[in-house]
């Protein structure tokens, strides 16, 4: 470089340093916050209200995931410090790491076509809901509602028959623009969704086949009219969870959108709106989105549920109160051992969601202290977990998750339609060996379609085919099952003396009708996509081949599997996964014969009238207890009839900076991320 060049560089550097010197602290000054004064009224769970409910294939990429259920063990509540009534000189910024940018800040779009998990993490919980799940145990408790709704009643208005229910609302819950949150807001939101035929998660929240309209009897008394009697999935675990949007803010926007011509254009216009200063009624208000870098929510000083205390008892009782405002108790008389107690914040002045491009980068940021908690739908892998466990100032937590990985059969082909064959396959698959030995505990074996962590709906008493058997016993049993069903071999498999391995693999397996069992493929994700499922596929291939069942694991891309299985139904067996909702109405969607058409969710074509009957019953059921019995029965039925061989699930591992923050509880199905990182409960050291 020429001397002049060096000179230029020197000058430039000097100037840069000068600049650095004179403008560093611009950042600090602006944020000193007022103390908020708390008003009166009713309860609200600490965490975020849960919104959309979906089951979607378990992918690595964003899926909208809600749902939760109590972990079976709870820990005594941490002593709750005083709520944030004093303004500290230093701000408490709760920094969370996320792995992808938001795609919208518009709630309609977020529950519509933009339902990514990241939108859920950031936006979820910002809106009032009538009812919600309680923390940890996932009891169905009122939030904006002052009490439980009235029972569904048949009512005829103007010649039309409706099923109606009435809901009392808490008074004094305010939007940040000063308006009250009223029944009008609920009606407006539900009507907008219905009238614009909003897509995505909306139809499952406001189902046009059930919901007709809602009326505000007075601002704090809501009446909902259903076209037909809604089951639990439609009302208690559907519409009741609908986030309520501010009518004052959205009405003009919706009105304008409705001018946009065709319904699709109208939706587009509504989704395209970028909210500015949208009123919030949650613990935080959305304040800044620096695209690609971070999103920030600032504390809502007028948060109604601030200072409210929630107590859960070992007896199952639930109590919630806010001094001078409301008291609520349900599920038995409060008293006895407390399993959980916390007081709602928010204690953080601000929550910043910082976007990182990879899990590794996020973990480094966490280790370095740039963030306090990382939100990651897959949780931490074992290597990272091990690494973080040894780290000072970090705490690693492990929770059950809400997913399932399964092996599905195509009932349209032989011999998959043969129950004995399916049971033999299930017998041969040693889940315990794979999960605990091969996969070193990164997966948990499962036998039913409801995860164990979903306590309320989990049936522990289903047939556990093959559990506890040795390799040799499994083979012997499977061979016996096949023989009993009329299968024959040219060469029967022979097991070694010690029963540990197969000396002579089976050959020439023939079906009961005498035809040879055809070559079959197991479609499964490639190791690049998911090493766990591909490992299962490879081992299954090996075990089935040992007894002479001619299968081949076809490890391929996710879309290709979806294409073959769901779009074309051209396959033999497949391995995929579902992310599950808490309320298990998905059992109907996956296995009822009416969903067996192309692109239906019953891709295997399972068709059992007996099961269909159970499923229909469940859909119509309005009582939780009865529904539970039905779900138990369905699980037992499926575990024996085996349209899916349920394989495993992975526990969810998370880590947070315990040297900076504390949570009132960390045991929670689906992890703390399922409660969006407990933004309103997190406290600072």
């Amino acid at each position: 470089m020429r001397p002049a060049g060096w000179l230029a560089v020197c000058i430039l550097t000097l100037c840069l340093f000068a600049l650095l010197g004179c403008t560093p602290e611009v950042v600090r000054e602006e944020v000193v916050r007022e103390v908020e004064v708390v008003v009166t009224a009713t309860p609200g769970p600490g965490g975020s209200a849960q919104t959309g409910q979906t089951s979607a294939p378990v992918g690595q990429a964003p899926d909208p995931t809600p749902g939760q259920q109590a972990a079976s063990t709870t820990q005594p509540a941490a002593a709750t410090p005083a709520p944030p009534t004093t303004t500290d000189a230093t701000e408490n910024v709760y920094q969370l790491g996320i792995s992808a940018d938001l795609t919208t800040t518009n709630y309609w779009a977020y529950l519509g076509p933009d339902g990514t998990i990241w939108n859920l993490y950031v936006l979820g919980g910002g809106k009032p809901v009538l009812y919600t799940y309680s923390a940890q145990r996932f009891d169905w408790v009122p939030s904006l509602a002052a009490d439980f709704p009235t029972a569904l009643a048949e009512e005829t208005v103007g010649g039309q028959t409706f099923w109606t229910t009435e809901v009392p609302l808490k008074q004094g819950v305010k939007w940040s623009d000063g308006n009250d949150v009223t029944a009008e807001d609920f009606a407006f939101t539900a009507h907008t969704a219905a009238e614009l035929e909003l897509s995505g998660n909306w139809p499952s929240i406001v189902d046009p086949e059930f919901f007709d309209h809602a009326e505000a009897l007075d601002p704090y008394r809501l009446k909902i009219f259903f076209k037909q009697k809604p089951g639990l999935a439609r009302w208690q675990f559907g519409q009741a969870f609908m986030p309520i949007l501010s009518k004052a803010y959205w009405e003009p926007v919706v009105a304008e959108a409705k001018q946009a011509g065709e319904i699709i254009e109208q939706q587009k216009a509504l989704y395209a709106h970028v909210p500015e200063n949208e009123p919030t009624a949650g613990g935080f208000g959305f304040s800044k989105w620096e695209r690609g870098a971070f999103a920030e929510k600032e504390r809502n000083p007028d948060y109604y549920f601030a200072d409210s205390t929630v107590t859960q008892y070992a007896s199952g009782a639930y109590a919630e109160s806010k001094p001078g405002a409301y008291e609520f108790a349900a599920y038995g008389a409060p008293g006895g051992d407390k399993t959980l107690e916390y007081t709602t914040g928010p204690y953080a002045d601000s929550a910043i969601y910082s976007i990182y491009g990879s899990q590794d980068a996020t973990v480094l940021a966490l280790k370095k202290g740039d963030i306090d908690f990382m939100l990651n739908p897959l949780g931490l892998s074992r290597g990272l977990q091990e690494q973080l466990e040894g780290e000072d100032g970090l705490t690693v937590i492990e929770n059950p998750s809400t997913g399932v990985r399964y092996l599905g059969f195509n009932f349209r082909r032989e011999p998959m339609d043969n129950k004995a064959f399916r049971q033999a396959v299930a017998t041969l698959i040693d889940k315990e060996f794979l999960t605990s030995t091969v996969l070193q505990g990164v997966a948990i074996p499962m036998y039913t379609m409801v995860p164990e962590g979903n306590v309320a709906w989990y049936n522990a008493d289903v047939p556990l085919i093959g559990q506890g058997l040795s390799r040799g016993e499994r083979i012997a049993q499977a061979v016996q099952m096949l023989k009993d069903a009329g299968f024959t071999w040219e060469t029967e498999p022979r097991i070694s003396e010690d029963g540990r391995f197969v000396e002579q693999p089976g050959e020439g397996l023939k079906m009961p009708n005498g035809e040879p069992v055809p070559e079959m493929d197991i479609l499964a994700p490639s190791p690049g996509y998911d090493p766990l499922r591909s490992t299962f596929a490879i081992w299954i291939e090996r075990w089935l081949n040992e007894v002479g069942i001619p299968v081949r694991a076809d490890l391929t891309g996710f879309n290709l599997i979806v294409e073959k299985v769901f779009d074309q139904q051209d396959f033999d067996m497949w391995i995929l996964g579902w992310r599950l909702t808490l309320y298990p109405d998905y059992l109907e969607a996956f296995f009822h014969s009416r969903h067996a058409g192309l692109e239906g969710h019953n891709a295997g074509g399972y068709n059992n009238p007996e099961f269909d009957r159970l499923a229909d019953q469940l859909l119509a059921e309005t009582d939780v207890e009865t529904a539970r019995q039905q779900v138990f029965e369905m699980q037992a039925f499926l575990a024996d009839d085996l349209p899916y061989v349920v394989l495993f699930d992975t526990p969810l591992v998370e880590a947070y900076r315990s040297d900076r923050i504390t949570y009132p509880y960390t045991d929670s199905l689906g992890g703390l991320q399922n409660a969006s990182g407990l933004t309103t409960l997190v406290q600072f050291k």
Partner: protein, 383 residues
């Protein structure tokens, strides 16, 4: 000149047309479609799924989709992104483009300079220890497994040593109070760079025209002066600290990209130098009693630069390519990350849009290099 530019523009449009067509049919030929991907939710009724398809224009026959796509592309919005529905692809890309451009142009410039500098040095002292060291380390870094290497760089410099930030292009704590958006600052930075480059270019051009034989240092002092003005101007804009924050975040990715990619330029320069050094004018320069450094830099390297500059196109394309791999590791959400994200979520319009953008970028790179070449080689004139 005008006819040259016209022809060049025509060529670009044609090439672009081909790229658009190619990507469209490529994407269409893939198995599976987006609507299925997004509607595998049992809670979404069949009608809603049809509706999703309709809203994405997937219900029309292929040729209509193609025409719509063509129209969208050439009217500039590239259609509507699936994953960011209903944002137009153009908007999504426009949001991310400045980040990629700022980072990867800087990185390419730095790596080009480093490569050229080392290349001429090792050619000049052929067979030296430096040549072996630079060739082996260069080739090793060039073929190092990029994602792991980038992560290692972060681990060392950001985590262990703590000198630099762990990826990202800004620090939320600094930016949360900022009045302007990062893209504003990025575009200011780009504008500054453009103005400065234009200024430097014009100065050199003027010096060439006016100073005629000028071998003097005057033009470089003028350019240095110009460079000195930049921070002062920035200090007055009030967002200087934000730009500095971005610059701080750029150091590590630039260093990484440079280490990865300097070898290509270096080895090409070396070969070009070895050939140039045999030219008579280099011997003539030495015979004239010019100092070694002058012979090397002003004569050998200056001429060796000519073929190397053509490879700048490939360096730029390489950098854009690298962005797909590197951006994720450095949490730098530019076009590369967008492409990857779009590909993974089957956001087909965004995939096509990104590819077209990347193609456009490389076409532009060609033009820029052509212009640069004309400036550097007086023998070349527009025909």
């Amino acid at each position: 000149m005008t006819s040259y530019l016209a022809r060049r523009a025509g060529q670009m449009v044609l090439t672009l047309f081909l790229i658009v067509t190619l990507t469209f049919f490529l994407v269409q030929a893939q198995p599976g479609d987006y609507a299925t991907f997004y509607s595998l939710n049992p809670d979404i009724p069949a009608e809603a799924r049809e509706q999703i398809k309709a809203s994405f224009g997937l219900d029309k026959p292929l040729w209509q989709q193609y025409l719509v796509h063509m129209k969208n592309t050439f009217t500039g919005n590239f259609g509507v992104s699936f994953g960011h529905y209903p944002r137009p692809v153009m908007e999504v890309l426009a949001e991310r483009l400045p980040r990629t451009v700022v980072l990867f142009l800087s990185a390419t410039a730095v790596s080009f300079y480093v490569g050229f500098f080392l290349g001429k040095a090792i050619a000049w002292r052929r067979g030296g220890v430096l040549e072996y060291a630079a060739t082996i380390s260069g080739a090793t870094l060039f073929t190092a497994f990029t994602p792991a290497f980038a992560l290692m760089m972060i681990w060392i410099f950001a985590f262990k040593l703590g000198w630099l930030p762990v990826g990202k292009f800004l620090d939320p704590l600094i930016w949360r109070g900022a009045e302007v958006s990062a893209n504003h600052v990025f575009s200011y930075m780009l504008a500054t760079a453009a103005v400065f480059i234009a200024f430097a270019f014009l100065t050199l051009l003027a010096a060439r025209k006016l100073g005629r034989l000028g071998t003097g240092r005057m033009p470089f002092l003028v350019i240095a002066g110009g460079a000195a003005v930049i921070p002062i101007v920035w200090a007055f804009t009030g967002v200087g600290y934000l730009a500095l924050d971005i610059l701080r975040h750029m150091i590590l990715p630039i260093a990484t990209l440079t280490l990865i990619s300097f070898a290509g330029t270096m080895l090409l320069t070396r070969n070009s130098m070895l050939e140039t050094m045999r030219e008579d004018y280099v011997m003539a320069a030495r015979a004239k009693g010019l100092p070694e450094k002058v012979v090397r830099d002003r004569h050998a390297a200056r001429n060796a630069l000519l073929p190397v500059i053509t490879s700048l196109v490939y360096s730029l394309i390489f950098a854009i390519d690298g962005s797909v791999i590197i951006e994720g590791v450095f949490s730098w959400p530019g076009t590369g990350m967008t492409l990857l994200e779009a590909v993974r979520s089957e956001d087909l319009p965004l995939v096509m849009g990104s590819m077209v953008f990347i193609g456009l970028f490389s076409l532009l790179a060609h033009v820029i290099v052509d212009v640069l070449y004309v400036y550097l080689d007086p023998r070349i004139r527009y025909q």
